[in-house]
């Protein structure tokens, strides 16, 4: 029997299309090229420039910069702040997650809505507000307390490590909250019920069953807090500069700022970036070793309602505590910003007599400010749209097409997630300022490239999650019904992931609208972003104007958020 064997039986749905130029091959190629250009090159350039100068190995610069006293101190601050914020933020996040996910406390929807607010606003707005309230020199609260109680020195000083930690905790604790509350809601309730039947009181159940089972979620959230804090620029910049408290991101900014764009300064920034990446990598390793214990398969099948723990006597005191804390953390800064935007000059008492609408008026008349708003809108929309489509494409290549080398794609797309925005900015400067033939420096395009490098990982993660929920049999059923590969993508896969794609767009649009860390290093005379403009105004002492612009930014963000929730409500998704 002369049986000719075909290629070793493949079970790859897409590869069966067989044509040499197919949609799948094109997508794979584009994905590789894109990730190489956007992610790999900047990272490579940083490493190269830190250790090499004009083709020769030069470690001297690296050693001088890294081991200087000031920089060691900055690194120490960075680590102390990072760890403190993580520990405190995790505890607070856990407390609220348990409160909303497992107890019968009322007003849950109200609290959830309040929790979403820190997500919406950049921490540096909070820093600005708290600085106005609790700054050692002239903070409103301090002044009022000193006058009322005849104190010699201001009781609060927000311009300290403690102050930085406080503000960062108030913006980062929702990371743990969201992860844990979602794990609690999806957890199979019979795991806890079986413990209760066995005789365990509710407290014992929490201790021995619930917490160990959500530990993976806790550690995921905690890691997110840690990385965000280590990489953060705005809060230490606003609260720390006046007292010479530096962290690695702010010290890098200081170098570049002082160097005035000289190549030497940027090289030094690159060296420090490596240090920062080293710290972040240590954090990642720490998580794997200390906290991570594998993920448990605890998701329930049938939809069962978990039994809520009755708080009884503790209910209203806890409710009060929870709401008050939220008001303090969330609402007070917001109100402060709006009020300050109305004031004629910083330091004047906040009474109607001192209010004016001039600050808001100036926003519209100032060309620089209007340009900044336009720039941010352009950048956010472009980055959002581009990352949304590219993220889906790359996720599709990795999950469904599975070409050789898909691990490289995965790694490259997820890498920027853990690289601080400061570092990415430096990498982008080194890559696209002429060294490789293309110069985008001082244009808006360099910021866009940096944003794309930064946010591609966001959209890829969310696209991956939703693609994985589209069971292969749904696409196969379409093929069997007569749809070609492309048609099944169009008719079945895309509609099912569309809600996630839209969510993905806003996941990028909102953060990039108010972004500061990356654009502070990349902006040129005509390419200020909204965040940069607010920071610059404040830096030059125009505090009410900065607040007014921040207030406008807040309004834009609230409106956009509202649009998001309207669009993503009731979507017929997976």
């Amino acid at each position: 029997m002369n049986l000719r064997r075909t290629r070793q039986g493949t079970s790859d749905l897409a590869a069966l299309d067989g044509k040499t130029f197919s949609l799948d091959k094109a997508m794979t190629l584009v994905s590789f090229v894109l990730l190489f250009v956007i992610v790999f090159i900047p990272i490579f350039m940083i490493v190269y420039n830190a250790f090499f100068y004009e083709g020769h190995l030069d470690i001297e610069m690296f050693k001088t910069v890294v081991f200087s006293q000031d920089n060691i101190s900055a690194m120490t601050h960075t680590v102390i702040i990072g760890l403190s914020v993580t520990v405190v933020g995790t505890i607070i996040g856990l407390f609220y997650a348990w409160l909303l996910g497992r107890s019968d406390i009322p007003c849950k929807n109200l609290m959830r809505a309040l929790f979403m607010i820190p997500y919406m606003f950049p921490p540096f707005f909070g820093a600005m507000a708290w600085d106005m309230l609790l700054s050692g020199r002239g903070g409103y609260v301090n002044t009022w307390l000193m006058n009322t109680f005849h104190l010699a020195a201001p009781p609060f000083n927000i311009n300290s490590l403690g102050g930085i930690i406080f503000v960062e905790v108030s913006y980062y604790f929702p990371f743990v909250f969201m992860q844990v509350v979602s794990a609690l809601e999806r957890m199979d309730p019979t795991l806890e019920e079986s413990a209760r039947i066995a005789g365990a009181s509710q407290g014992t159940v929490i201790r021995k069953i619930t917490i160990p089972l959500v530990t993976p979620a806790i550690s995921a959230g905690a890691l997110l807090i840690l990385i965000s804090s280590l990489a953060h620029f705005g809060v230490p910049a606003i609260l720390g500069f006046s007292k010479q408290i530096y962290t690695l991101p702010t010290v890098i900014y200081a170098y570049i700022d002082r160097a005035g764009g000289s190549f030497e300064g940027i090289r030094q920034g690159a060296a420090l970036s490596i240090l920062l990446v080293f710290v972040v990598t240590m954090a990642l390793i720490l998580q794997k070793v200390v906290l991570s214990s594998g993920s448990y398969d605890i998701i329930k099948g049938k939809s069962m309602r978990p039994t809520l723990i009755k708080l009884r006597g503790a209910k209203y005191p806890l409710l009060l505590l929870a709401v008050l804390t939220l008001v303090l953390i969330v609402l007070v800064p917001l109100i402060m910003i709006f009020l300050e935007g109305l004031v004629k000059a910083y330091g004047l008492p906040l009474i109607p007599a001192n209010f004016t609408l001039d600050n808001f008026h100036n926003i519209i008349t100032s060309k620089q400010t209007m340009d900044a708003i336009q720039n941010s809108l352009f950048l956010s929309i472009s980055a959002g749209v581009l990352c949304m489509f590219l993220g889906v494409m790359i996720a599709y290549v990795v999950i469904k097409i599975k070409p050789k080398g898909k691990e490289i794609l995965e790694m490259l797309s997820v890498l920027p997630y853990s690289i601080p925005g400061t570092v990415l900015a430096i990498g982008v400067i080194l890559s696209w300022s002429g060294q490789l033939g293309i110069s985008l420096y001082n244009t808006i395009w360099i910021i866009l490239v940096a944003y794309m490098a930064r946010y591609l990982s966001f959209s890829m993660k969310s696209a991956s999650a939703s693609l994985q929920q589209v069971h292969p049999s749904l696409e196969e059923a379409a093929r069997a019904c007569g749809a070609s590969h492309t048609e099944s993508l169009k008719d079945i896969t895309l509609p099912l992931i569309r809600p996630a794609m839209v969510a993905g767009f806003f996941l990028i649009f909102l953060p990039s609208m108010r972004e500061l860390t990356t654009s502070i290093l990349l902006y040129g005379p005509y390419t200020r972003t909204l965040g940069v403009q607010i920071f610059a105004l404040r830096d030059s002492g125009q505090i009410p104007q900065a607040s007014a612009l921040a207030a406008v930014a807040i309004c834009i963000i609230i409106i956009c958020n509202f649009i998001v929730t309207q669009i993503t409500k009731d979507k017929k998704g997976v």
Binding site: R4, G9, L13, S473, A480
Partner: protein, 364 residues
């Protein structure tokens, strides 16, 4: 209606051979059930038929159309094979209504609007889902979603429909109803159906012919239900259908003995079976045993359980506890045996096979 022919199909997954030189014909307008334990390769064969997997050798024909031929280099892509499918997890598209789901295959075939509506209506009528056209799958129960999947398969193809374990996820009672419905539908329209399952009871209820596949992807027996049950081709088929007891046999001093701790005289066994010199066993289905006071094989009833249509007796025979099943009607006519009673056993349809190392039922 068309027939389906698999000729000499071979497929490996990495180093593991799923099947080798497999041939199977599903006759036109018949329901053929492909039955085998989980993981034996039946789903893989279906995926070869649908075009999601490319075998290494052989050919696949539906009627006159060649869907795959390794030698001639023919490999029709899935969307051109025109085979209706019902998947195990229904695969009903959640973002489309029931009607949109059922219309989809016809849209791809570019049928005229009027014809599409009419065929959809007819299909939904057959699965008793008229009135649910505007519902979304999330508003339907499991059984209803399965019926939508069947309706969609019905409009996809007049020739062949493949069903891959379509009823496993349903309640016991619902499973029975669906089997009857599938049979009735097939009776009406005469499409060829290839039905894949590990549930031999469901297969027996449904099929015109059955093919049994063993763990290594080999077809042990292809035949009608009567053949499979009354004349199993080998031990695997015998054990796979229904539950059976197996007893080691020994030959001593010219007599045959059945071993269960102690030895029971069992001379009904033909001595020729020991010709090969290998150790032999006797297998008997639970309901092929009767009480017989004359029999030297004696045990004691430890428990009797009423199961409705039959009684199950637990009998201590030697050092083993075996199960025996008796039809309720027989019990009514011959009196129920009591717990503690000593009984003699006779085997009505014993079968003799070579002994295996692990010859007790698999523990979990």
């Amino acid at each position: 209606m068309a027939d389906v022919r698999f000729n000499h199909i071979t497929f490996h997954y990495g180093k593991k051979c799923i099947f080798e030189d497999l041939s199977l014909t599903v006759e036109e307008s018949q329901i053929m059930c492909l039955v085998g334990p989980s993981g034996c390769g039946k789903t893989t064969l279906v995926r070869c038929l649908l075009g999601f997997i490319k075998p290494e050798t052989g050919s696949i024909y539906v009627g006159d159309r060649c869907l795959f031929d390794a030698e001639k280099g023919i490999d029709v892509s899935p969307e051109h094979r025109h085979i209706g499918v019902v998947f195990q997890d229904y695969a009903v598209w959640p973002h489309m209504t029931v009607l949109e789901n059922v219309l989809y295959p016809m849209k791809k075939m570019r049928l005229p609007k009027e014809e599409m509506k009419e065929r959809a209506h007819h299909a939904l009528e057959q699965v008793r889902m008229l009135g649910y056209e505007e519902h979304l799958p999330s508003q339907l129960s499991g059984g209803q979603q399965q019926r939508v999947a069947i309706a969609r398969a019905l409009v996809s193809s007049d020739e062949v429909i493949v069903m891959d374990e379509p009823i496993t996820n349903l309640d016991a009672k619902l499973r029975e109803e669906m089997l009857t419905e599938i049979r009735l539908i097939q009776h009406d329209i005469g499409t060829t159906i290839l039905y894949i399952t590990h549930d031999q009871e469901a297969a027996l209820q449904l099929c015109d012919r059955m093919a049994i596949m063993d763990r290594d992807g080999k077809l042990c027996q292809i035949g009608e239900d009567e053949d499979i049950i009354l004349r199993p081709a080998n031990r695997f088929v015998f054990e796979f259908i229904g539950v059976s007891n197996f007893f080691p046999l020994v030959r001593e001093n010219g007599h045959t003995y059945l071993v269960a701790g102690e030895k029971f005289l069992y001379d009904e066994c033909p001595p020729e079976i020991f010709a090969s010199g290998k150790p032999m066993e006797m297998g008997s289905r639970l309901n092929d045993m009767v009480f017989d006071d004359q029999s030297p094989i004696r045990g004691k009833i430890t428990r009797s359980v009423f199961l409705g249509s039959e009684y199950v007796y637990f009998i201590q025979l030697g050092n083993r506890e075996i199960r025996m099943q008796v039809n309720a009607l027989d019990v009514m006519q011959n009196n129920k045996a009591e717990e503690g009673q000593e009984v003699g056993l006779r085997f009505l349809q014993p079968r003799y096979y070579e002994a295996r190392k692990e010859d007790h039922d698999e523990s979990a």
